[in-house]
């Protein structure tokens, strides 16, 4: 009697998703989503302003918050996925089962990606629906922005898993994931720009493609000098490769670290 690795991965993912559904995190995330959507749609009429008339510009007000939303998804649905098994001692139940550690990582990774995808999809669904009602149309660029957002989500989850496998407490993994994307990458990006180095390999810089595709603020690939380089956005293929690279390297390192980590708590 033995389950295949894929069957075990599916079971782990299923129970992780159940964890998010039953916990308060998903509810909190949905409330935040509702708040952002409500503010974007409610503030212009309240202030006597008109909505943007083109679908792209209308959705651009949503894409301004996409990156933050994705980072929050990574923080809530990925950053403690591995470290909590050690810190909260649930590993004493899970690990003596005949299941490989890489299977556990894969299952949890799949659950984190799918849950974060659901949040992003809901957000873009609301944005697209509103755009359709207000402007009467949708564009291909909106779809592209959505796909780029999904790609960035995968990147964030990969890095969050690496931190989750490396750090000792859920608090440190959660806090570091959040500040890495919202602060530390920004600082590095700024410093690199001052040194005339294109920060194309910084995920938060690459995430510029999500908004740029609907409302280009700077030309793709423009280098330092545009707003101290903070608005630098790499070319789309470069950004997608950066996302893929961080996800693959982050996930692989997470698997290796999780396999090696001993349960001594």
């Amino acid at each position: 009697m033995s389950a295949s690795g894929w069957a075990q991965t599916f079971v782990v993912a299923e129970y992780e998703v159940r964890r998010y559904l039953r916990g308060r995190r998903l509810l909190g995330m949905l409330l935040l989503l509702a708040l952002i959507i409500g503010l974007i749609l409610g503030l212009p009429p309240a202030l006597g302003l008109d909505y943007a008339s083109s679908p792209n510009l209308f959705v651009a007000s949503f894409t301004n918050f996409s990156s933050l939303l994705i980072v929050l998804s990574g923080v809530l649905f990925a950053s403690d996925a591995l470290v909590s098994e050690h810190e909260k001692r649930t590993g004493y139940f899970l690990f003596p089962n005949p299941v490989r550690r890489e299977v556990l990582v894969l299952g949890k990774l799949a659950a984190s990606v799918l849950t974060s995808f659901a949040v992003v999809t809901l957000y873009y669904g609301a944005a697209s629906g509103a755009a359709l009602v207000v402007t009467g149309g949708l564009t291909w660029e909106i779809w592209l922005s959505y796909l780029y957002a999904l790609a960035y989500t995968v990147c964030v989850v990969g890095i969050a898993f690496l931190l989750s496998a490396s750090l000792k407490t859920t608090v440190s993994a959660t806090v570091l994931t959040f500040f890495l994307f919202t602060l530390i990458f920004g600082i590095v990006q700024g410093v690199l720009s001052l040194a005339d180095v294109d920060p194309w390999f910084i995920p938060s810089a690459a995430a510029g493609i999500i908004g740029n595709v609907v409302a280009p603020s700077v030309g793709f690939g423009q280098g330092p000098g545009n707003g101290f380089g903070l608005s630098f956005v790499p070319e789309v293929p470069t950004s997608l490769l950066v996302f893929a690279g961080y996800f693959v390297v982050g996930s692989l390192l997470a698997v290796l670290l999780f396999r090696r980590r001993e349960l001594t708590a």
């Binding site: 009697m1 139940f93 001993e262």
Partner: protein, 324 residues
């Protein structure tokens, strides 16, 4: 007699074989080079003071930590090389595990069962059986976040029994349970033993080990001090304390006679009017001391060993300073 449960084509080795297993945490040696094997159908009590290396051994056996040296095999399969195969026929309770608070016991058992590839119907049937066995049936649908430590310990035992394992590895299985719960868990372990399953159980409770186990291994400072069958070890020459009651209070001369008898190390009056006689030796020596007392003309009304043989063995090998 327990049946051999080795699958065809697999080396017919014991369910547990530890070969020179050692573990270092930095400069601290938790386990030196433990060599120990447990035969099929045997229940082994793994004893030792805190910090002796018991939990380290059990964690190596269940792939929670890697050994610094040596090899642990379960049913002839190396735990570190092929953990999934090695743990297939094993049920384990290690410390008091935490469970996912958002799940109920029935969902937790379904999780463990599905990871093991058990069919859904079998999971359902076995879950009901094991939850009943550990007296958690009425709580089967409640979220575990409401549970006490004792209830979690019962659930831990239930999940270890779910797939009817051939080998049970239990680390302090009655920890956190009330006296009734302890007795119930001991009953469960005894019934598993009767079914011919192999049990590897660490415990601080010597009485519990005496009741349940037929072999023991005593560990201290990461080294195996003594191992063997309970019966053999209780017959070993060692230090025993015997309680003797005499028909009349002993005179000064009688005390001197007692102190001078062969094998008698120490004689002390007990608070209940009896006499504690400390002797060096096992059951043979006990018999010869009794004969000597009678030959010396002292009229004995009762004569029996105090404490259990296992307790004496433990106290003989573990100093007070060893208890962390």
């Amino acid at each position: 007699m327990p049946m051999s449960r080795n699958p065809p084509g697999e080396s017919p080795r014991g369910p547990v074989v530890l070969e020179g297993v050692g573990k270092e945490y930095g400069k601290f040696t938790a386990l030196k080079a433990l060599t120990l094997s447990v035969a099929d159908g045997t229940s082994l009590g793994f004893l030792g003071p805190n910090g002796a290396g018991k939990s380290t051994t059990i964690k190596i056996m269940t792939n929670l930590i890697r050994p610094s040296r040596g090899r642990a095999t379960l049913f002839g399969i190396d735990v570190q090389r092929e953990p999934t195969r090695a743990l297939q026929r094993v049920g384990a309770v290690i410390e008091t595990p935490e469970f996912y608070g958002y799940l109920s016991p029935i969902e937790t058992l379904a999780y463990a069962g599905r990871l093991r590839g058990m069919p859904r119907k079998e999971i359902e049937a076995r879950s009901q059986t094991v939850l009943k066995e550990v007296k958690l049936s009425t709580w089967s649908d409640h979220r575990i976040q409401e549970f006490s430590k004792g209830m979690k310990q019962r659930l831990a035992i239930a999940q270890a029994l779910l797939h009817e394992p051939d080998l049970l590895i239990l680390d302090e299985p009655t920890s956190g349970l009330d006296p009734r719960g302890m007795a119930e868990v001991r009953d469960v372990i005894r019934s598993l033993k009767r079914e011919g399953r192999t049990i590897f159980m660490s415990s601080h409770l010597l009485g519990e080990v005496e009741e349940v186990c037929d072999e023991i291994a005593l560990l201290n400072h990461g080294t195996l001090i003594v191992s063997g069958s309970m019966r053999e070890l209780s017959r070993r020459p060692g230090v025993s304390v015997l309680k003797a009651t005499f028909l009349q209070p002993l005179s000064e001369a009688a005390w001197e006679t007692l102190r001078g008898l062969p094998h008698v190390e120490e004689v002390n009056p007990a608070s209940d009017g009896s006499v504690d006689v400390r002797i060096a030796g096992g059951e043979e020596v006990q018999a010869s001391v009794l004969e000597s007392i009678i030959r010396a003309g002292l009229r004995v009304t009762s004569f029996h060993a105090t404490g259990s043989p296992l307790e004496h063995l433990y106290l003989e090998h573990i100093d007070e300073s060893d208890h962390l």
